[in-house]
């Protein structure tokens, strides 16, 4: 296998697996696990295969051109450090899959779990293997999104939703900052390529933009790695299923932050700014989180805070800017991943087998699950830093670095003390974890009787614990070559000499370790009594919750702030909004014109008007003016007059030889008028005498102002259109279309050929917008509550009903049914006729006026007529009206037709036309554009019918009981 396929398949395989996993049946727990496990193993195998090449001292690279014109390529790059991480991500990923198979309950929808899990793994591998900074940020954001989905997996749980939301907000905001930082970095270096960035350290550190870039990148890293003060999302994320926590908070998600810091360490570290920013965040996370961890009552909560603390340790090590510090940081990343993953899994086993994670309720589990208990004890000893385990080695290295002076300052002086205290705390919570859960009297009233988990569920824990032991006992034979490989690829020439021996002789770090171990154990016994009954969270700090501050902040940004702005800068009333909008439009048009000087730019009104055309327009204008005048109090008349204005526009199109436009305009005009007519019934009735009869001066002035505004806007539009339309057209592409319509589009109706072929992409966009608009209208009308006086049936129906009820030989509602019986029967007959018309318009569209849009509207009018003739209930009992399906079909068909051209190697939406010989009918022109047009037809039909239904269903909707009671009381 070549390097290219190796690298690319490592990133692509998990995503392919995610897609497959999503489509497996809900119950297929085994199939899903096999799939996910195979993918993880395959990624691991790829990493193994790549080892010889990387061990030989090179970095593998693979590139795929992406946006070549912007200098962006998809670059994958694997050096020693990336290799180390890839091994961790895929290896622990595999163990977590195995564990999840037994952890997830048969009721959980596992396809979703494994699909997200694999996609997350792919994104994480993408971060690790990215050779391009922009690409890295994209994968970074993908991890945010997939971790959001994973944390919120049990979304019926409020805390899961909350945790997922917080983690997404924090990490995605950080990702945004990171993008800014990366863009700055790319600007400084002149390239986003990782190799180039890594080779321009001096350039970056001495650039004036260094500090902003550093701050932005660190924001990204700190939010991801849950460093103080962004740490609060991590404990909230514990609502996730335990396999997710074990994976996200040991080897992957939170490690992405420290991974990035280590990756950019050679070029960004070594400055006082780096030392202070990273050091303060790291030390405070290290200390505060360790302290908080002691007082957690939830097993996973304890592990969450301890994760923050250990990440703080890594961050602190990176802040020191010493090569040995970086070595220790990288080493601790690996160690922490192994023992933390196993501890999370152990906590999950305890939760799974006992039904609780509350340490106040758990006790004496050793006698029920001795093997799990032993494994957990070894793992937490590693977390505490007990000798002969891997945690001890990296902690010793940390102590050795902490006592060195790097940048003379207070921070540097306090580092060793903080290190010892935090380490002491870490011993305390590790002891507490073991002591509270496994020792003491047997537990009482647990939800389940505890017992050992199945062997396969314990296996991942055992393997991880074994690696803790082996690395801790014989580091030189096991981890050292790999660690050296990773360190060398980060530090390059600066790689220091280091040795991973268990025994370094009696030195200061050892003394510090002993103090921490002994002190921590003593502290845990001192606190034992208090912790057995205390509330969750540390004393004093219990009340200061990062989450609450975050919630306040979110409320301010998303709720109170906008409300404040709305109150003082905006309004909810439609009239002022409209007024502002029109005024702004007038200003926007007026300002540039004013600069040019007023006037029509040399245009004069033509001296002669065609009298008939003028007459059409005079009629149209008069209709429009009267409609505006009547709009408020006589809506029906206004609507009829609007139809008149529309007809005059339609006639103008015919006059100016645009039959396509005229046809479409006519149909649209009809359908719109009818739809609005149907809606009129729901508008509130006119309130008589709302205004005092001699209008007050203010009202008059207001009305005058609105009139002036309206006239100005109208005249302005008119002048603008006139100025544009009367100008000689100049060089347009019209001639091109006219020339090519038949030869290339296969149609003689140029308008239609432009719509479905030349500018098919525009049309696709437009029909998408139409679909969205229809859905919005539907959503708005579905929740529409009419004015109280429009709710009862209209007066006519009430009279008829009264008559029916009074007459002994009539059924209730008979008049309504019989009244227009003949007419309604004829309207039913019209249904097939209108369908034929629509079909006719559709089929001739490519060569003569017509087309999918016009046909769709014509077809809609058939439906409207049926709704009016026979009523909603009757019709929908007999005819399947599925506007959503039609819309979806239309969009899919149009897109699929466009995509189809790819199969033949043509660009998106290329159409093909030819003549087909059909028996009986003969030779007919056929183009793939017809299929596209069918999509347009279907979508237009669906969208319009959807709006029709939204109105039609108003009349058959029952009023809610509360409201009905109200109405009854009033009458």
């Amino acid at each position: 296998m070549t390097d290219d396929t190796l690298l690319i398949s490592m990133v692509v395989l998990p995503f392919v697996g995610a897609i497959i996993a999503a489509f497996l049946p809900t119950m297929a727990r085994n199939a899903e696990s096999w799939l996910a496990g195979t993918v993880a193993l395959a990624a691991l195998g790829c990493a193994f295969l790549a080892y010889p090449a990387i061990a030989a001292g090179g970095a593998l690279r693979a590139e795929i051109p992406w946006l070549a014109s912007f200098g962006l390529t998809l670059a994958f790059r694997m050096d020693g450090f990336a290799w180390l991480f890839a091994m961790l991500v895929s290896g622990i990923g595999f163990l977590v899959v195995l564990y999840a198979r037994y952890y997830m309950s048969p009721e959980d929808p596992v396809p979703r779990f494994f699909s997200f899990f694999l996609a997350f793994m792919g994104s994480m591998l993408g971060i690790v293997l990215s050779g391009n900074l922009i690409q890295l940020v994209i994968f970074w954001e993908m991890t945010s999104i997939f971790s959001f989905l994973l944390i919120g997996y049990w979304y019926h749980n409020a805390s899961a939703r909350e945790g997922a939301r917080i983690s997404l907000t924090v990490t995605a905001t950080g990702g945004m900052a990171l993008l800014g930082g990366v863009l700055l970095l790319g600007h400084i270096v002149g390239s986003y390529d990782l190799d180039e960035v890594l080779s321009s350290g001096n350039l970056i550190r001495n650039h004036p933009l260094y500090l902003p870039a550093l701050i932005l990148i660190l924001l990204g890293a700190f939010t991801k790695s849950a460093q103080f003060p962004f740490h609060f999302w991590l404990p909230n994320a514990m609502a996730a299923p335990t396999p997710v926590s074990a994976y996200l908070h040991s080897a992957t998600l939170v490690k992405a932050g420290v991974f990035l810091m280590a990756r950019l360490w050679p070029v960004m570290a070594g400055t006082p700014e780096w030392f202070w920013l990273v050091g303060v965040a790291g030390l405070s996370s290290l200390l505060i989180a360790a302290y908080f961890a002691i007082f957690q009552q939830d097993l996973k909560g304890l592990l969450a805070y301890s994760t923050i603390s250990h990440l703080g340790l890594i961050t602190t090590l990176l802040s020191l800017s010493s090569p040995l510090g970086a070595v220790a940081a990288i080493f601790h990343m690996v160690n922490h991943a192994t023992f933390k993953a196993s501890l999370f899994m152990a906590a999950g086993i305890i939760d799974h087998e006992t039904g609780t994670r509350d340490m106040r309720r758990l006790s004496g589990l050793f006698r029920f699950m001795p093997i799990t208990a032993t494994l957990a004890m070894v793992a937490s000893a590693a977390m505490a830093g007990v000798p002969l385990l891997n945690g001890f080695l990296s902690k010793e290295m940390f102590f050795a670095e902490a006592i060195e002076t790097h940048v003379p300052s207070i921070l540097d002086t306090v580092t060793p003390y903080v290190a010892v205290i935090a380490s002491l705390f870490s011993v305390t919570y590790s002891v507490r974890f073991i002591q509270a859960v496994f020792f003491g009297p047997p537990p009482v009233d647990l939800p389940r009787t505890p017992h050992e988990p199945p062997f396969w569920m314990r296996l991942p824990v055992s393997l991880l614990v074994l690696s803790c032991l082996v690395v801790g006992a014989i580091p030189g034979r096991t981890i050292e070559p790999f660690l050296r490989l990773g360190v060398t690829s980060v530090l390059g020439e600066a790689t220091p000499e280091f040795s991973l021996a268990v025994w370094h002789g009696l030195n200061v770090p050892l003394v510090m370790s002993v103090i921490a171990l002994v002190g921590g154990a003593l502290l845990s016994f001192a606190l034992k009594r208090y912790l057995a009954t205390s509330r969750d969270g540390p004393p004093f700090f219990r009340r200061v919750k990062g989450q609450r501050i975050f919630d306040r902040l979110m409320a301010l940004v998303a709720n109170d702030g906008p409300r404040f702005l709305e109150r003082y800068l905006s309004t909810r009333r439609l009239q002022p909004q409209l007024r502002l909008l029109v005024a702004a439009a007038i200003l926007a048009a007026f300002l540039p014109l004013w600069r040019q000087g007023p006037g029509l730019g040399g245009l004069t009104f033509p001296p002669v008007f065609d009298p008939i055309f003028t007459l059409v327009w005079v009629v149209g204008t008069v209709c429009a003016v009267i409609a505006a005048y009547q709009a408020k109090f006589h809506r029906l008349a206004a609507l009829a007059l609007l139809g008149g204005a529309g007809l005059s526009v339609c006639i103008s199109f015919v006059w100016l030889s645009a039959p396509d436009l005229a046809l479409t305009q006519l149909l649209v005009e009809i359908v719109t008028t009818v739809l609005i007519l149907l809606g009129l019934r729901w508008l509130p009735k006119r309130v008589e005498g709302a205004m005092p009869v001699p209008l007050s001066l203010t009202t008059r002035l207001q009305r005058l102002r609105d009139l002036i505004l309206a006239v100005l806007a109208g005249l302005g539009m008119m002048l603008l259109s006139y100025a544009v339309m009367m100008r000689p057209a100049g060089q347009t592409i019209g001639a091109y279309f006219l020339e090519r319509a038949y030869t290339e589009g296969g149609g003689t109706n140029v308008v239609n050929v432009i719509l479905v072929d030349f500018r098919g992409f525009d049309t696709l966009g437009e029909i998408t917008v139409l679909a969205i608009v229809a859905l919005t209208v539907f959503a708005l009308l579905r929740r529409f509550r009419p004015a109280p006086d429009s709710i009862p049936p209209p007066m006519q129906q009430q009279i008829q009903r009264k008559f029916d009820v009074a007459a002994p030989d009539r059924d209730d509602g008979a008049t309504l049914t019989d009244y227009l019986y003949v007419a309604s029967v004829i309207m039913q007959w019209l249904f097939p006729i209108v369908i034929v018309l629509a079909l006719y318009l559709f089929l001739r569209g490519h060569d003569l006026p017509g087309g999918g849009f016009a046909a769709g509207i014509a077809m809609t009018s058939a439906f409207i007529m049926q709704y009016m003739a026979v009523g909603t209930r009757w019709l929908e009992d007999r005819l399947r009206v599925l506007p959503l399906v039609w819309m979806g079909f239309g969009l899919l068909l149009a897109t699929a037709t466009g995509l189809g051209s790819w199969l033949f190697g043509y660009p998106f939406l290329t159409s093909h036309s030819r003549y087909l010989e059909i028996p009986l009918i003969g030779e007919v022109p056929a183009a793939t554009a017809l299929l596209f047009d069918l999509g347009v037809f279907s979508l237009v039909l669906g969208a319009t019918v959807l709006m029709l239904i939204a109105i039609a269903h108003q009349s058959i909707r029952r009023i809610g009981p509360a409201r009905a009671a109200n109405e009854a009381e009033e009458t």
Partner: protein
């Protein structure tokens, strides 16, 4: 139209006569719509145009093109069908609405009731 010159005299006469009759009837109908006083009278007038008016013109058209193209041209039958089916609907809707309004408002010139199956005339 230049082709019209090829028309035999008998056909030309017949077509002209039919067109004139159709157009004349339609004109009378439109004039009636303008002149008649009450709504219920006026609603009858345009039916002249939509029945025999259209009919005459359509027959003329069929004749003209059948003779010119020496094959039966029958498309116009469809037009006749559509017009016959659709116009009554419009007129019926209009008449029913007017009748209804006049009765509920108790106006003077309402046509008399034919049976008891008619809604009451007073306001609720």
């Amino acid at each position: 139209m230049s082709e019209a010159a090829d028309l035999p005299l008998w056909a030309a006469l017949l077509v002209s006569a039919l067109v004139l009759v159709g157009a004349g009837l339609t004109l009378i109908g439109s004039y009636g719509l303008l002149r008649l006083e009450r709504f219920y009278d006026r609603i009858h007038a345009p039916t002249l145009g939509s029945s025999w008016g259209t009919g005459g013109i359509l027959v003329a058209s069929m004749l003209l093109f059948s003779v010119l193209q020496t094959r039966p041209v029958l498309h116009e039958i469809l037009i006749a069908l559509f017009v016959t089916v659709t116009t009554p609907v419009t007129l019926m809707l209009l008449a029913r609405a007017a009748l209804y309004r006049d009765r509920t408002e108790g106006n003077a010139d309402v046509p008399p009731m034919l049976s008891k199956d008619v809604p009451p005339t007073q306001n609720p």
